[in-house]
Symmetry: C2
Subunit: 309 residues, 2 copies
């Protein structure tokens, strides 16, 4: 049995994963509101101990502990260096876990773990080269080349959301202009939906947003489209075009076997994939949605021992 840990800004998921990469059992602990590195590492270690004790796992049964963590990671030393939404300051998680539970432990970036999970046990299993594109507040990337995660210098590879596609476009949070995520993230999409809906309060989209306190979310647009709202369809089509441009950049650079779309919006399945594939056109790279959903990160973390960096 292996243990996978998926640390996020709201919760941490900790699970027991079997040799077929199935989650046997898992628990969740709250991380939102956590103030100090000491508090955060206590949540992780105590949670892991609870899980082990509840399931009466012996030391011998635990062969590996893998952990995915947001922000900057030193994979070689197994240290979480820092993150935006959590009080992380050089926490040596790999060492802490290894010492507490007497098993080898590894740490990697959460986006990498999700990509690795889909590669080891999900939709991209058996591929050689895969790029996982995570659509959310930003656009994250997990790049697998020749069966290995591409970490790059100081683990900074995979920042595909900060690939500039519009040098005359919008300012990005990173300081550059026209990064892919300024137009193709789901946040960019919902912002555009909220912006345009202001001018059409009587449209189906406008009413849905008004009913939701003036805010759009992932579902709003798809609901309005399913009710044949033209504005919603037009916003979606523009967004698909922005997404397609970056997709083709990834294809031209890597020509991977597969691009895996992950993030909450990937649950839309064919509503997203069919228009996106039509925009991309004929191509030897297949475009698929992740199969493991929110479990990809935990499963990928538990499988980190099977990667030779």
């Amino acid at each position: 049995m292996k243990i996978g840990i998926d640390l996020g800004g709201t919760t941490v998921g900790i699970g027991v994963v079997d040799e077929n990469y199935r989650i046997v059992t898992a628990i969740e602990r709250k991380t939102a509101g956590c103030r100090t590195p000491e508090e955060l590492q206590k949540i992780v270690i105590d949670g892991t101990r609870n899980l082990i004790e509840e399931n009466q796992l012996s030391k011998e049964q635990i062969t590996f502990i893998g952990m995915g963590c947001p922000g900057e990671i030193d994979t070689e030393k197994g240290i979480a260096v820092g993150a935006d939404n959590l009080p992380i300051e050089n926490i040596p998680f790999a060492k802490l876990l290894s010492e507490a539970f007497d098993a080898p432990a590894k740490l990697d970036n959460d986006a990498n773990c999700a990509a690795w999970g889909e590669y080891m046990a999900g939709v991209s299993k058996g591929c050689k080269n895969v790029v996982t594109v995570t659509l959310g507040t930003g656009i994250g990337g997990g790049i697998i080349v020749g069966g290995k995660l591409l970490h790059g210098k100081e683990n900074h590879a995979g920042e595909i959301g900060h690939m500039v596609i519009d040098i005359h476009g919008k300012r990005c949070g990173c300081g550059r202009i026209g990064c892919w995520e300024t137009v193709a993230s789901t946040r960019a999409l919902t912002q555009e939906v909220e912006h345009q809906a202001q001018y059409a309060p009587n449209s189906r989209l406008g009413k849905l947003i008004a009913a939701n306190g003036g805010r759009a979310n992932g579902k709003t647009l798809f609901t309005a489209m399913s009710e044949e709202d033209n504005m919603a369809r037009s916003i979606f089509n523009d967004w698909i075009r922005s997404l397609e441009v970056g997709m083709w950049n990834v294809i031209n650079i890597f020509r991977p076997d597969m691009i895996v779309i992950s993030g909450g919006i990937s649950k839309e399945g064919d509503n997203l994939l069919i228009p996106l594939r039509a925009a991309v056109g004929k191509c030897s790279t297949s475009i698929r949605a992740g199969r493991l959903g929110g479990q990809a990160g935990l499963i990928g973390a538990a499988a980190l021992d099977e990667m030779n960096i």
Copy 2:
């Protein structure tokens, strides 16, 4: 001894390369004007035979023959599939060379061979991840990840010149809009120089171009800049900014140890590198010019046997 062959649209270079990746001796044969695949393969095979005979090499002395070729390549089968500037139609070069000279033979893309040459024997030796950016009529890429060339599906990886950076920009020859090479190739630079010089015939740049029959070339701009022509400096600065945007995209995606600049303009050395590095700013990826110049492709071809695909 190994033999390296670097096939181009004007000439083919064929050389004997020693165990230290030094070219012991080399010959050149004309390929411009060559009309049929049969004629082209005869030039390559006869040239290689001439080189072997002139140097009195025995069969036992030749341990490997590697060849770099423009256009589309089937590396697994060793077949040159097709190219724009040469009469190539599925020529099985690896098989032809292997049978004619009784040695193992391999074939790869010319840009990949140049990247591999610099990696095995040039400026990027000892790196783990390297992206070679070849600036010329277009922008080509040779990507090395974990010590291996990234070929991608159907050998289509590395098309970094067709990464869109300006979705509202110029139409590219590939059909897309705003590809990096539409603004940052040396052709884009000389076209801009010629265009702007029309409106300033009495500038230093205008006179240099008039003296050259109305055409700019790689040297014109640098000569005008060295003579403190402001228009030349302004065109160059704009070009450097376009180059920098794509460089940062490559850095954000791969965070390689090094980006190697190759192509004719890389001979400008610090005139190019210092402004480019200043534009890129602080970064853990170093930016260097290739060290092997025009020999990189031939040396890389001869070293293709040392790559495990």
